[in-house]
Symmetry: C2
Subunit: 215 residues, 2 copies
């Protein structure tokens, strides 16, 4: 944002660009990359298709920007949750809570991640670029642990731990409305909170922590 914009708010250009990203996020999540037409994104924004290309070189670049925005938004949260001086299990639990809360705020992440993960590894290393920061973050976190804390992690591999929590959450958020439509929206605060507690319970079990009541 330039100085002038700091006073007057985002420029028209920035508002348009931001709207495109927002609608693209929703549509790519709902329909997938191939099935999403730039025409649909344009219509949702209220502009013409050619205008999208003014902001983003092509469809692929738009998609990459969406992924960057969605995954990037969680990176800071995770960093903050894992930081600090609290005991190891508390920090891991804070990370799990941050994850479930973020998915609740930005459910497009769930569908985008499901789709990306479904893609065969050879095809499209796109995902890896966006996930690598998280892998690095977690590896750094583990590297900085005290020896006695590292031992506490031994019951489970970090990769498996993350996969279980991440998979259970995105599947829950995306699958419930599809498979059990009469069950109510999983994004409703009560449902999400129940899920969060369940994930915390699983996290504690995987970490070998004795069970407590809430998080």
């Amino acid at each position: 944002m330039s100085q002038a914009e700091a006073a007057s708010g985002p420029s028209r250009s920035e508002r348009t660009r931001s709207s495109i990203l927002q609608e693209a996020e929703r549509l790519f999540a709902e329909r997938g990359f191939e099935a999403t037409r730039l025409e649909d994104v344009a219509e949702a924004v209220g502009i013409r298709r050619a205008s999208i290309v003014y902001y983003f070189r092509d469809k692929r670049e738009l998609y990459d920007m969406v992924l960057g925005s969605v995954f990037g938004g969680f990176h800071a949260r995770l960093e903050s949750a894992l930081g600090g001086t609290a005991p190891l299990p508390h920090r891991v639990e804070a990370a799990v809570s941050a994850w479930v809360e973020y998915v609740g705020e930005r459910p497009a992440l769930a569908r985008l991640l499901l789709r990306e993960v479904a893609g065969a590894p050879e095809r499209g290393p796109a995902l890896l670029d966006h996930i690598q920061p998280f892998v690095d973050l977690v590896r750094g976190f583990i590297a900085k642990l005290e020896p006695h804390e590292t031992e506490a992690l031994s019951p489970v591999e970090p990769a498996h731990f993350a996969s279980t929590i991440a998979g259970a959450t995105v599947f829950f958020v995306a699958a419930m409305p599809a498979l059990l439509p009469d069950r109510g929206d999983p994004l409703k605060p009560e449902q999400l909170e129940a899920h969060r507690r369940e994930m915390l319970g699983i996290a504690r079990r995987l970490l070998g922590v004795r069970r407590t009541n809430t998080g």
Copy 2:
């Protein structure tokens, strides 16, 4: 299979049809419905694209047949696991094991399910048709339980239980090779077995069963 085929084996027609289904299963799983070209399926089988249409009306029908085959294959297994007179937790654990084993044998299921679940509920009720038999099966199972067994289920909702296990497994199988390529194939027997045990542990926790060693 007709009487003649019972002796001579599958006819050429049946072999071709079966090959188409097999390659389509793999390609739809790896690339998704839209990104899969009938051309690619035909090439993988070693025939021409037009021949596919001789066996399947159109691309959509082929896709539906693939889903039917993949999901249908698990239905019998689940039914058998949930049946019998063993105590409730044992039958649930047998179901979890059957699930993990089936995904291991037919990993296309993982990617197909991830993709289907990612689709917004409004678009394409296709998945529901294939999942409904499972919902019915589980509801029937619960309905037939003794009162004291039903109580044992109370700690967790069946839908949430299934979502957690199913999500964690398909995510694990599909995401590991993509996100941590140096970690080895999750489909290798040791890895799959470790995952199965972990899922059993989670299942027991969700069912409120005291922990034991293996399944």
